[in-house]
Symmetry: C2
Subunit: 356 residues, 2 copies
DNA sequence: AGTTGCAATGAGATCGATCTCAACAATAAG
DNA sequence: CTTATTGTTGAGATCGATCTCATTGCAACT
């Protein structure tokens, strides 16, 4: 039999036999490495084409010790930012000739762990991770990763010396607060999302992921810098379930001295504010001002169009891929952290109180 | 040296040496296949744990001829439906213990081709594809796929005998039209998106992807069944660029006898209608009625909330994975086509003309 | 004691490609 | 005519795990 079992893909041995040369020569001809007689090469290429030969990259990878595959683990899910991040990472990797093995784990820490393990077993060359929490990340330590490089996306974790790409959320919230202040607002509220919180609370929970932590921190600092005393009732923390968020917004609006403007710490929180406002008959940009995070495709279409702090997701994803590839190509280099600027997109959801 | 080169992952040979048994026995102990003495197994497991052994699935796959990896190729991009589809496929696969290698190709046919090739080279066990076009799909033929099974998602292609999972778009549009008619509308327009069209036109282009084709077809049939003569000016075809869509909506609204209600053939078209309406000062659900496709997270939050034909994306994705796995597990079975029902989510964007 | 049966293990082939090294032929140089 | 050089090729090892098959040791039975 010229070719192995029926239905099986032709191997390099089949091509070699068909062309009447050895496997070694065939390999040289196909991979364009080493010297091969021009006529021989032509014959081999012809045989390969005729048999419909498709190289088995698994075998090559095993020999080479590299798979040209990256692992992408996204813990949080259901937000357009992360969908976009996922796509952008895949696209950026493709342009560098890397494929991406993707897992999303919906904030299940155990799934996150096993995902890392599965990816290591599949011999990815490196990992891009958006973890659900900053605690208990020891499974991303050097030892547990068997030396494979990681880059965190939209999260940082300086303590472990892990590379990361984030946006400047601190400045982002600052911009939002200052924009509101410039339009005459002083009573500015903040609604903060945080995983694994079922209800809502005014207490700042420990272990906020860095992204959210920085947004909260930026708020407090900007308010302090402006000399505004924050009424504790203006700030609420809630889980990411719709009801939890809705309730938090209600609590804020029911306060004795409610804020005139709200900052929503992510797109889901913006939606929650919009939902509550709609239900209460409050007109955004008039009765209640709002600045959101993440420029989702619908933000500009709302009436009024939503002012948002936009994150450069695509650039972040590309930076993460570049960062990871840099680590892969130069394993001895120190992991680096990249922080990209956010951009305040001013639209119509913050009312100008100064002219009123 | 007990262990191979520094930095390299320990192999089964390392574990075998450490435990003082052969590779064969180690393999048996670790994979729980075949008989091994209980004490020996314990010793092997202990050694594996001590060395931090992570199996090299590449090697196993090469031997087994199966990688437990599916390929997902999504041509269209930038719509929340496909983001959700991507996530759902990954999630469904994970529950079946399969990983997913993802590519998105942004409607570039060449990229689509090379993606298929790359996935075959990486020895995926099967492919789920959302192609950008129904023409020129010969690269998805049995021969070109080397016998690997495929399932099309949100597209069908009965001519080639390829398995597929789609939604009942025909009935979906029908439901939309009938809903509008029930509320007194007869002048119903349709705005259709189609790839690689730069401007907009009233002519029905050839080679519409099945999804869109069925939506158009459903519209014509429902109108015919209701005995309504369609003014050609009510139907416009456009590309998926924002300007192209915007222009198409404008053309429809500028018609001599403009429709009172519009059906948008996908979420981007809905956004286009909303944009134009906003610019013209038309209030949706009052001056102009609208039904969209795909229940994006923002649809319900709009004022008025958008009535949409909802596709069961998550079920479709799961069905696609199931369908593909069925083909993988039973290669001789005939490829099947699955059609899932859509659901009309009635909200407030269609005005009731009958009471006016 | 001799034979059979069974449990436990190891030696070696195998998957498909790559890479090292040696072999060989043809040509050039001495 | 011999030796060195260059160009071209093939044999065989290798990557890491699995699987087949043969071997060993020990207990049980006649």
């Amino acid at each position: 039999m010229t070719q192995s079992a029926k239905g099986a893909l032709p191997t390099i041995t089949d091509v070699a036999n068909h062309a009447g040369v050895s496997r070694a020569t065939t390999s040289r001809a196909l991979s364009n490495y080493g010297v091969v007689n021009a006529a021989t090469r032509a014959r081999v290429l012809e045989s390969a084409a005729e048999l419909g030969y498709v190289p088995n990259v698994l075998a090559r990878s095993m020999r080479a010790g590299s798979t040209h595959t990256l692992g992408l683990i996204i813990a949080e899910v259901g937000l357009s930012v992360f969908d976009l991040a996922m796509r952008s990472v895949i696209e950026s990797a493709r342009l560098e000739d890397y494929q991406v093995l993707v897992t999303n784990t919906n904030e299940d820490l155990r799934a996150e762990r096993t995902s890392v393990r599965v990816m290591l077993e599949k011999q990815v060359d490196g990992l891009i991770v958006v973890p659900s929490s900053v605690d208990e990340l020891e499974f991303l330590s050097k030892a547990d990763l068997k030396g494979k490089p990681v880059t965190l996306l939209d999260r940082s974790l300086d303590s472990l010396g892990i590379a990361s790409v984030t946006a400047d959320n601190l400045q982002g919230t600052r911009d939002a607060v200052e924009h509101m202040q410039a339009l005459g607002h002083t009573k500015i509220g903040l609604i903060v999302v945080t995983a694994n919180l079922s209800g809502e609370t005014g207490e700042r929970p420990a272990g906020l992921i860095t992204t959210i932590h920085d947004r909260v921190e930026g708020y407090y600092r900007a308010m302090a810098d402006a000399g505004i005393d924050i009424d504790p009732a203006w700030v609420r923390y809630c889980g990411d379930a719709d009801e939890s968020a809705t309730q938090a917004v209600n609590t804020i609006l029911d306060a004795e001295n409610p804020p005139t403007a709200l900052i929503a710490s992510n797109a889901n929180m913006s939606l929650a504010v919009l939902r509550v406002a709609k239900k209460r008959g409050l007109v955004i940009g008039d009765d209640l001002s709002l600045v959101g995070f993440d420029d989702a495709p619908w933000a500009a279409v709302l009436t009024p169009a939503l002012t948002v702090v936009d994150l450069p997701i695509e650039q972040m994803a590309k930076a993460a891929v570049d960062n990871l590839l840099a680590q892969i190509r130069n394993p001895d280099a120190e992991p680096t952290s990249v922080v990209l600027p956010t951009r305040l997109l001013i639209r119509d959801s913050v009312r100008d109180l100064s002219t009123a």
